[in-house]
């Protein structure tokens, strides 16, 4: 009980901190003279701050150093609570969503999924559109990473929380001796590349407002846009190329970016075991799918086919989910292949979702090791990735992760089927949600959105997005008996 109160205390601090994030939409509303939005966001900021302060102050005397296991509870609660706070303005003001839809939209933002239940995005107030994309940006690097960077009170407990939130199988890589400095460094690099992306998008022809929103959206590999028809609205190959470049950048490990940019050591990209495979897999898939699409004679010219396939493949593989074309009309092979890619392309330590490339590499190497050991029963064969030995402990946890991942996909698919959804929609909605991609096929395809889902279906997808973002175990561990046993 004491530890729950201690967690609540930090949670209060987190919410109070998050209330400051409302300044972004408030400022936007003021700039564009959107009086109603201004007041709503200010109210929501006030409510969040009040709740946060209440939690913080009432539990002040229970404040202690967090224990390792508290990190899981705190991270899960923090995500759920911040999502609720972020949903408030979309319930109170435009677009006046129900709690279910607002929570979905908010989770979709923070988990960098990018699925939406809103139709008529083009007509939303600027403040709301910015808010949705800003949620992406915060969730991309991580609420906790932000908190660790800013809240000195977290101390050693910060490391535990950081580990519980960080994506990827190897969570011990600290860039600097202090976790606070590491978190700051990551945010700095993230912000720096986002600024570069903003500039590039402005040059490519977006208005500054669109450029900010899309920079937030693309750097976090989210997928919200300021238009119903997403990137297709722009009809600009230049913008598409810029977006593709930054999607690929954001799909790399930000620790590698840090080493490369801050220390000027660009060989870091070559040493990164995942980076090269991001490009290999995306590149190979673009060639494969272009051939498939050309074969199906969907586009008259090769360059048109290449353009759309390249964008869709990059956007889906990196789990961004921005769209230019309705790829649900493409052959099922192409669209399923892209959904499959979304499971395995994003690097650990990137802002993307899915199983993560590093885990996929470990699985592949483990498969070859299994064969090798059959041939040489006496062999001592450590699993190595780019010369680094991966301990069996990590291999086992990756195996467990992937098993749980596919079981989760299966269970959630069944859950959606039980609501009388068709199979294609159910499965692709689950995969698209748990990988934080966005568009699936069928009822939730890129040509439509998630608005047609009933409440039960919406909640299932919300859960899938949340599970995917915190990489399953952080949340599932809370339902295990050993966790609660003293």
């Amino acid at each position: 009980m004491r530890s729950i109160l201690a967690v609540t205390n930090v949670l209060g601090a987190l919410l109070a901190l998050f209330s400051a994030y409302f300044l972004l939409p408030i400022a936007t509303a003021l700039i564009y003279g959107e009086d109603e939005s201004w007041r709503i966001f200010a109210e929501c900021a006030g409510i969040t701050l009040a709740v946060g302060a209440l939690l913080l102050l009432t539990t002040l005397r229970f404040r202690t150093e967090l224990k390792p296991r508290d990190g899981y509870l705190l991270v899960s609660l923090a995500w759920l609570a911040v999502t609720a706070a972020a949903a408030l303005p979309m319930m109170l003001g435009a677009p006046q969503l129900s709690f279910t839809d607002a929570y979905f939209e908010s989770m979709s933002g923070l988990s960098t999924t990018g699925s939406t239940v809103i139709t008529g995005i083009d007509k939303l107030p600027h403040a709301v559109n910015l808010w949705r994309c800003a949620l992406h940006w915060l969730g991309g690097m991580g609420i906790i990473v932000m908190a660790v960077a800013v809240l000195p009170m977290l101390g050693v407990g910060g490391m535990q929380m950081y580990r519980a939130e960080a994506p990827g199988p190897v969570k011990d890589a600290k860039l600097t001796p202090r976790i606070t400095e590491t978190a700051k460094a990551l945010w700095l690099v993230y912000a720096g590349i986002t600024a570069a992306c903003f500039a590039a998008l402005c040059l490519a022809g977006m208005s500054p407002f669109e450029a900010i929103c899309h920079a937030f959206s693309v750097m976090s590999l989210g997928g919200f846009s300021t238009h119903d028809s997403s990137i297709g609205w722009f009809h600009s190959p230049t913008i598409e190329v810029v977006l593709m470049a930054f999607m690929l950048i954001a799909a790399l490990n930000f620790s590698t970016h840090y080493v490369a940019l801050r220390r000027g050591d660009f060989a870091a990209y070559r040493r990164d075991p995942e980076a090269r495979w991001v490009f290999v897999w995306v590149g190979f898939s673009i060639v494969l799918l272009t051939a498939e699409i050309m074969h199906a004679r969907l586009y008259s010219t090769f360059s048109e086919a290449l353009r759309h396939v390249a964008f869709a493949t990059t956007a889906m593989a990196t789990t961004t989910g921005l769209v230019t074309e309705d790829f649900s009309l493409w052959p099922i092979f192409a669209s399923m292949w892209m959904l499959f890619l979304s499971c395995v392309v994003a690097s650990s330590g990137s802002t993307g979702g899915g199983i993560k490339l590093f885990r996929a590499l470990i699985m592949i190497k483990q498969f070859f090791r299994e064969i090798f050991v059959q041939v040489h029963p006496a062999a001592v064969a450590p699993l190595k990735i780019a010369g680094q030995v991966i301990s069996n402990q990590v291999v086992y946890s990756v195996l467990a992760f992937i098993f749980v991942y596919f079981m989760t996909v299966l269970i959630l698919t069944f859950a959606l089927l039980s609501t009388n959804m068709d199979f294609t929609s159910a499965m692709t909605a689950t995969i698209a949600s748990i990988n934080n991609v966005g568009p699936g096929l069928g009822q939730v395809g890129p040509g439509t959105n998630y608005a047609s889902l009933n409440d039960r279906q919406t909640w299932i997808c919300t859960l899938a997005m949340f599970l995917g973002r915190v990489e399953l175990f952080t949340f599932l561990i809370l339902f295990s008996r050993p966790y609660w046993r003293k």
Binding site: H376, P377, A378, A379, V380, A381, P382, K384, G387, V389
Partner: protein, 454 residues
């Protein structure tokens, strides 16, 4: 010369033995194990001091103050380096040699530059042995390959076999086969008896032949003596210790390498640091394991564990199971002689390999390199000719005029980095490096005296 040897391990004892048998040297050995020292003193004429080799008081007691050379050969790199530092700081010992095994140190060249560590020369027996074995594997057919003059000239020992161009021919025909080759047969052993080669000598199958050649001519010369061997593709190394690990790392780029290590922890560590080698956990004397890993299609089996008994046994087993060529690391000369029935193709003696390079640094003067051959019964040495015609017994004279002892043959010269194959009328000039083959090791003093410059 006053020599201080730290550490009476295998290398230390061998060094003491080689240095003490030369009458001019006064050798003192320091080791912490008194029993070893007692045993050593009863066999060779050295002084011993018991204690930690890096303590100044112990060094002082061993007479470091007026020592000319300190050779630190303890099993600890750190003790060796500190001892050299202390000898330098407190006593200004002129020459300091340290054994340093860890590549982590030796790859940092700046550490051994002037003004850094007070180590004038470092030697790594493991590295020397590894490179020696690597040379043998790169040149299949050779039983022994040693370097002279920084590798410009090599002396190769091998068996004459059917298919060699020279087999069944007189040596004078070599000129016809290889008109411009810088190579020469140095010695022939037939049924273990030395034959001094001349133009009329016939080469017979089964002869053990030593030849010298410039490095680039070695492969052609080998084809004179035996038909070209099949290329080595598969190598099995028994033992994942220092030597086995280094060997695997050198070889894994060129060959398909398997390494067998008995200790599971060590096997794991080795496997983590090797890229292409298949590391197997098991006993190299385990027949099942060897068969399972296709020992019968193995080209070279190298037994390099710490236990020479295990090396002998596993090498013999591998040979019986069909390995094409087997090689074993053997310390005791007596074991080496057991190998004459060819159940083991090549016996490598770490001391023999190491001591040549050590002696090269210890002997300031004229003999710069000594290689022990045929398990110690023969030697080859490289001497530098100093002085002028008036004070030297060799300068200005042709080779046939020299008073060489019986069984000693001058086989090659290196003059200004150029290799000259010796003929009876070749004249010797100052600063020549002369390479001498000695079929009888006892003549070494006579040879050394010949090259003394006073």
């Amino acid at each position: 010369m006053k020599v201080l040897i730290l550490g009476a391990g295998q290398v230390g004892r061998t060094a003491a033995y080689h240095l003490a048998r030369e009458p001019d040297n006064e050798v003192t050995v320091i080791d912490s194990n008194e029993a070893v020292l007692r045993e050593l003193q009863s066999r060779i004429d050295v002084r011993t001091v018991a204690g930690n080799a890096s303590y100044p008081q112990i060094l002082e007691a061993a007479g470091v103050a007026d020592a000319d050379i300190i050779v630190a050969l303890t099993s600890s790199d750190e003790v060796n380096m500190v001892a050299c530092e202390i000898a330098n700081a407190l006593y200004r010992t002129p020459t300091k040699i340290a054994r340093i095994r860890a590549p982590e140190y030796t790859t940092e060249e700046k550490l051994f530059a002037d003004g850094a560590l007070a180590v004038d020369v470092w030697i790594s027996p493991e590295q020397l042995v590894t490179e020696y074995i690597e040379r043998l594997i790169h040149n299949p057919g050779a039983l022994q390959i040693v370097d002279f003059a920084d590798g410009r000239v090599r002396l190769v020992g091998m068996l004459a076999r059917k298919g060699g161009l020279l087999v069944g021919q007189q040596l004078r025909t070599l000129k016809d086969h290889m008109p411009n080759a810088e190579a020469r047969i140095a010695a022939i052993y037939r049924n273990s008896r030395f034959i001094e080669p001349d133009g009329e000598t016939m080469v017979e199958e089964g002869d053990e032949i030593f030849f010298v050649a410039a490095r680039d001519h070695i492969q052609r010369m080998m084809n004179e003596i035996t038909r070209a061997e099949e290329k080595v593709r598969k190598v099995v190394i028994a033992g994942g210790g220092n030597i086995g690990f280094r060997l695997a790392r050198l070889l894994e780029k060129h060959y398909q390498v398997k390494l067998i290590e008995r200790d599971v922890e060590r096997a794991r560590r080795v496997s983590e640091r090797l890229e292409g080698t298949i590391v197997l956990h098991g006993d190299a004397q385990d027949e099942e394991l060897l068969i399972e890993e296709n020992i019968d299609s193995t080209d070279v089996f190298a037994a390099v564990t710490n236990s020479e008994e295990a090396n002998v046994l596993s090498a013999m087993l591998a040979k019986r199971l069909g390995a094409r060529k087997v090689l074993a690391l053997i310390n005791r000369p007596s074991y080496g002689e057991l190998m004459d029935n060819r159940s083991i193709d090549i016996a490598v003696s770490p001391q023999t390999v190491t001591i040549g390079s050590l002696l090269a640094h210890v002997r300031k003067g004229d003999v710069v390199r000594v290689h022990s051959l045929r398990r110690g019964s023969a030697e080859a040495l490289e001497a530098v000719v100093h002085g002028d015609a008036e004070h030297s017994r060799v300068i200005g004279r042709s080779i046939e005029e020299l008073e060489l002892p019986n069984g000693a043959v001058i086989v090659a010269l290196v003059r200004n980095e150029r290799v000259i194959i010796a003929h009876h009328n070749t004249k010797i000039e100052p600063e020549d490096h002369v390479i001498v083959f000695l079929s009888d090791r006892r003549q070494i003093d006579a040879v050394q005296r010949l090259f003394d410059s006073d």
